[in-house]
């Protein structure tokens, strides 16, 4: 088999039917361009959602689950007996992590830990005049919290340091602040479930771009929240941990649970919905892209089949003059590969253009999402993958007509 002659013949065939070649190419081009655009956009969305979820939530959260269910004493003593207990009250259990501050210190010294923030979190009602909204308030050491969540970048107004100098300061989620109609300097009444009340002054607002946080959460000083709850200075309900590598959080969380005996929740568990959504979007991207490519593949298959039928005399002449089956396969397969490769390259360029246009298209996501344009990821892997898919499709689509061409019986054609 001589690949040079095959290539020369393939080129002549392609150039002789420029329009047909172009149409076949455009099929692949369209498929690949859509693949690139879709996958870049979908991955951009995935990345954006993952980032915003990971930014706003700890990699590991250590807490004490207050479990109110317990069997009655009689049930414990005489299991299986005919026991009737009315109106049993749950046991009074505290959400406190015993030695929480010390545990936080020790976790902070472990390898791979970016930061630890021990805090007191509680439900709270925010009152401003007649407006009453429920939310949560977290008492934190603001420097430690800042290290975990980069609060400085998230501040919409105010200053973190004000909180340190003002014991009654409050940094509030933007949406919550707007709903309460408060700005920096305004006062808000905070009521805890235990009934205690305190008036705090808003010193800043923050926005993570995540609705569940911006809508409900406020930061206050650790000592202040402990005071509102009428607890001692060692009262800690949550420890938030961030790792350098988010994937390390899963085994590390289990380790913490084993060592300290408290419940842990890692980011993957906390964001199951986001991760599931990611899988579904990926699936969708691949299904649509592969469908497009298969359609393009059928287009090429049709065109190659037609070419083979049109060229059946030529094939007979080539065979008569000593070209064998492999040469004929090479001639037609090369045409398919050329169509796939050039169409694919053009598709990559158009796909890049479309993704770029999408990435600069303004997109108003409202308060919940902190983006100005559509999220798009530019990753060379997708472009490589797109070209690979394009070539595989065209080779498959070109192979069967080529084989048919190789099996042409020259005698029946040449005898006329």
């Amino acid at each position: 088999m001589n690949i040079n002659i095959a290539a020369q013949i393939a080129r002549t065939h392609l150039l002789a039917k420029k329009r047909q070649t172009l149409v076949a190419m455009l099929g692949v081009t369209f498929g690949i361009a859509m693949f690139i655009t879709m996958i870049s956009f979908m991955q951009g969305v995935n990345q954006f959602l993952e980032d915003s979820a990971l930014d706003a939530s700890p990699h590991i959260r250590v807490y004490n689950e207050v479990n109110t269910q317990r069997p009655s004493l009689i049930d414990e003593q005489k299991p299986g007996g005919f026991n009737v207990v009315y109106h049993q009250k749950p046991k009074d259990e505290s959400a406190r992590l015993k030695n929480g501050l010390q545990i936080a210190e020790r976790i902070g010294r472990e390898a791979g830990v970016l930061g630890v923030s021990p805090q007191v979190a509680t439900q709270a009602f925010y009152n401003n005049g007649p407006i009453q909204l429920s939310g949560t308030i977290s008492g934190v050491d603001i420097d430690r919290e800042n290290r975990l969540y980069k609060l400085t970048n998230r501040l919409k107004s105010g200053n973190l340091n004000t909180l340190k100098t003002n014991p009654d300061g409050l940094i509030m989620g933007t949406v919550l602040a707007r709903k309460l109609n408060v700005r920096i300097g305004d006062k808000v009444t905070v009521t805890t479930p235990t009934g205690s009340t305190r008036i705090l002054r808003v010193v800043g607002t923050f926005g993570f771009g995540v609705g569940t946080v911006d809508n409900t959460k406020s930061y206050a000083n650790l000592a202040t929240v402990q005071e509102i709850l009428q607890r001692d200075p060692s009262y800690i309900t949550d420890i938030h941990v961030k790792m350098f590598d988010p994937l390390q959080a899963l085994p590390f969380g289990q380790k913490i649970r084993a060592v300290y005996g408290y419940y842990t929740e890692d980011w993957a568990t906390a964001n199951t919905a986001i991760l599931a959504g990611e899988k579904i979007r990926n699936m969708l991207t691949y299904v649509v892209s592969i469908t497009l490519l298969v359609v393009a593949g059928f287009g090429i298959y049709n065109i190659m089949n037609m070419t083979v039928i049109n060229k059946i005399k030529d094939i007979a002449i080539l065979k008569a003059t000593g070209f064998d089956g492999r040469d004929v396969v090479a001639i037609f397969l090369l045409q398919a590969v050329f169509i796939g490769f050039t169409g694919g390259l053009l598709g990559l360029a158009i796909g890049f253009g479309l993704s770029y246009l999408l990435s600069i298209t303004p997109f108003d996501a409202g308060d919940f999402l902190s983006i100005k344009t559509f999220p798009v990821i530019f990753d060379g892997t997708y472009y490589g993958l797109g070209l690979l898919f394009g070539i595989i499709t065209t080779v498959l689509a070109g192979y069967f007509p080529s084989r048919k061409a190789a099996q042409v019986d020259p005698v029946s054609i040449l005898r006329g």
């Binding site: 150039l15 005399k313 080539l318 003059t321 000593g322 070209f323 054609i413 040449l414 006329g416």
Partner: protein, 233 residues
């Protein structure tokens, strides 16, 4: 003089629509440098015989040897290679690849064989075209040539690899008298230089000028006499 082709007990059937024996126990030999014409009425099996000899039709009983090689039972790829190197064809109806120029058409089998570098193949192709009087049309696309011109280019193509045997199915069928005579003269010269020519023809004048005529009827060879002028050589 050595035997370049021997066909032994060739039988060939057509099965569609009815079983029909088109060749009946055909046996003959051809010597190196012989200029042979196969004649007979339409449907006598002469074209079928030629396509068996061309190695393209492999569905037959019997045995064919050519240029010291047994060709019966060989793979398609082996036969393609053999055709490329040892056989040249001129067909009755179909001649050239329409997208290529006359020159490229002549060059293709040479490029496939790869015996010479491309430059030299081009020179040789030009020389063959000159021989056949088509040098002026070398750069023209084959689709722009008339039937007769195409057939002449096809003859040049058949010669490009200096094949051991040149086969033609009515090789001068589309040519006028002058060109027909020119082709005939070329074939004679080639035969004199040791290449073997086998043609199927209806043209009694053409047949009369050859070294030997095999006459076929109803699938059988009825006579294989040498022409009288051969002795004068």
């Amino acid at each position: 003089m050595s035997t370049v082709l021997s066909a032994r007990h060739l039988n060939k059937f057509f099965y569609d629509p009815d079983t029909f024996q088109v060749l009946k126990d055909v046996t003959f030999e051809v010597q190196t440098g012989e200029f042979l014409a196969i004649v007979g009425k339409s449907g006598c099996g002469k074209s079928t015989l030629l396509y068996l000899l061309s190695t393209m039709d492999t569905d037959y009983d019997g045995e064919i040897d050519m240029a010291g090689t047994t060709l019966t039972g060989r793979s398609q790829n082996f036969l393609a290679q053999f055709r490329n190197e040892h056989l040249g064809f001129v067909f009755q109806f179909h001649f050239l690849l329409p997208e290529f120029s006359a020159l490229q058409n002549v060059m293709l089998p040479g490029l496939k064989l790869g015996r010479y570098p491309e430059k030299e193949i081009e020179e040789r192709a030009m020389e063959k075209l000159r021989l056949i009087g088509m040098a002026d049309y070398a750069r023209k696309p084959a689709s722009k040539l008339s039937g007769g011109q195409q057939q002449r280019v096809a003859i040049a193509r058949a010669l490009i690899n200096d094949p051991t045997i040149i086969m033609g199915d009515e090789p001068t069928g589309n040519l006028d008298r002058a060109n027909s005579e020119n082709v005939f003269r070329i074939f004679q010269e080639l035969a004199a230089k040791g290449q073997t020519i086998i043609t199927v023809t209806h043209d009694p004048d053409f047949a009369a000028g050859t070294d030997r005529i095999i006459e076929m009827s109803d699938g059988k060879i009825i006579s294989g006499h040498e022409n009288s002028h051969r002795q004068t050589h």
